[in-house]
């Protein structure tokens, strides 16, 4: 600050006039450059163009996870009923008769994957939705105000005759703000593309694996659920056959009808879960394509949303 004061005050009078002209010219040039820079960089939007697709993807993944967990729970419950029926035919009960189709470890690993998939989708949504423009604006407004105040302090020093052009710091802060916004948007968009590209093969593999277990026929979960229901059907049929009075037969008949409905809905839920995951995989591919080549992912996302809605509908019918 001292040096600056010294330089300005030590100029001879003729030089001071030239300096004033130079200031005016610089001010004009500065205004033009500012305008150009702001025009160039103001195209940067606050949130990523991928925010919409990634929000839809995250929401679908979360809802699919809820339905899948419910599907696993249904399988465990029906499997336990099947074991109880099978055991009732034996002379003695043993632990082996109640060996579950899915061990705690099997369930745990599947739940971890569902959570990891949801977490990935949530983080991608969070990244795409990053909007720090307000925060950055506030910081640069404060910076501009402080610099302006520093400038006024310098001008108040006795002997300092040349005033700095008005609005210099405000414009500088605006440029700084826009450049930081651009930098943030650049990091965010590159990270979205890299994240999508890196994860896409794994998402495809994960979705295909989950779908292979739930799809009907003959996904291993689908088939196991079907077998368990068939066993329960046989069990009710045996009760029906052995019942002599009308009331007992009527109850067995009613139970059989309800079981068939549950079986239909349970199997439909499993197949719908499988289709949901196949569509999650396709939607991720489409979002990657949108990030790389700007090809809209709307169709894939609409198909996914429709499938998720169908899954939710079946689930709501099943838990009625």
């Amino acid at each position: 600050m001292g040096l600056l004061c010294q330089r300005i005050t030590s100029q001879p009078l003729s030089s001071k006039k030239r300096l004033t002209g130079l200031w005016v010219q610089r001010q004009k040039l500065f205004a033009i450059i500012t305008l150009l820079l702001l025009t160039l960089i103001s195209s940067c939007s606050s949130t990523s163009r991928m925010a919409g697709p990634l929000t839809a993807f995250s929401s679908a993944t979360g809802e699919a996870a809820v339905a899948t967990k419910a599907g696993i729970e249904t399988l465990q419950n029906v499997d336990l009923e099947k074991s109880a029926h099978d055991a009732s035919k034996k002379t003695e009960l043993s632990e082996r008769l109640f060996s579950p189709f899915l061990s705690i470890g099997d369930v745990h690993q599947r739940l971890l994957v569902l959570d990891a998939l949801s977490m990935y989708a949530t983080k991608m949504k969070q990244l795409a939705g990053i909007d720090k423009t307000e925060e950055i604006k506030k910081n640069f407004d404060d910076l501009g105000a402080s610099l302006d105040s520093i400038s006024k302090s310098i001008q108040n020093v006795p002997g300092v005759e040349h005033k700095l052009p008005d609005g210099v710091f405000e414009a500088l802060a605006k440029i700084g703000q826009e450049l930081v916004n651009l930098h943030v948007a650049n990091i965010r968009d590159k990270a979205i593309s890299a994240g999508l590209k890196k994860t896409d093969p794994l998402i495809t593999q994960t979705c295909a694996l989950i779908a292979s277990e739930f799809s009907g026929p003959h996904g291993i979960f689908y088939d196991q659920l079907q077998t368990s229901y068939r066993t329960l059907q046989s069990s009710i049929n045996e009760t029906f056959k052995s019942s002599k009075d009308y009331q007992a037969r009527s109850k067995a008949s009613n139970d059989y009808g309800l079981l068939l409905k549950k079986k239909e809905l349970g199997l439909a839920l499993f197949d719908s879960i499988a289709n949901s995951y196949l569509k999650i995989g396709k939607a991720h591919n489409a979002i990657l394509l949108q990030a790389k080549e700007n090809i809209k992912s709307d169709d894939a996302l609409n198909n996914l949303t429709a499938q998720i809605e169908y899954t939710k509908f079946i689930y709501s019918q099943l838990v009625k």
Partner: protein, 115 residues
């Protein structure tokens, strides 16, 4: 290239057909119905369910690897979110430093005006 289908799928189709036969012959042909049911149950309990249980274990191992992979990728995204957060934090710090410098320069200007 072999056109052979997965034995599990072939046997599952057979089990489905046996179940359908059992259902369709109930109330009509008791003997055929019981035979179909018995064969279905043997196929299910003796072959298909053990195959399914073994596939569940195989897949569980695959899920373990997938979870780790997804976590690595999520960590990468998280790092980028934090990186952006740090940039914004830096602008805040610069603004705070400028405020301090402003106070110092105001004091210095007052001092210079006094002498």
């Amino acid at each position: 290239m072999s056109n052979a289908r997965d034995p599990y799928l072939v046997l599952s189709d057979v089990a489905d057909e046996l179940w359908d036969l059992y259902q369709s012959s109930l109330n009509e042909n008791q003997k055929a119905s019981e035979q179909a049911k018995s064969m279905h149950d043997k196929l299910e309990n003796g072959y298909l369910e053990p195959i399914r249980r073994s596939k569940v274990k195989e897949n569980t191992e695959k899920y373990e690897t997938i979870s780790a992979g997804l976590k690595t990728r999520t960590d990468f995204i998280d790092e980028q979110i934090k990186r952006i957060g740090k940039i914004v934090e830096s602008t805040q710090k610069i603004s705070e430093y400028a405020k301090i410098f402003d106070q110092v320069s105001a004091a210095a200007a007052k001092f210079l005006a006094m002498i």
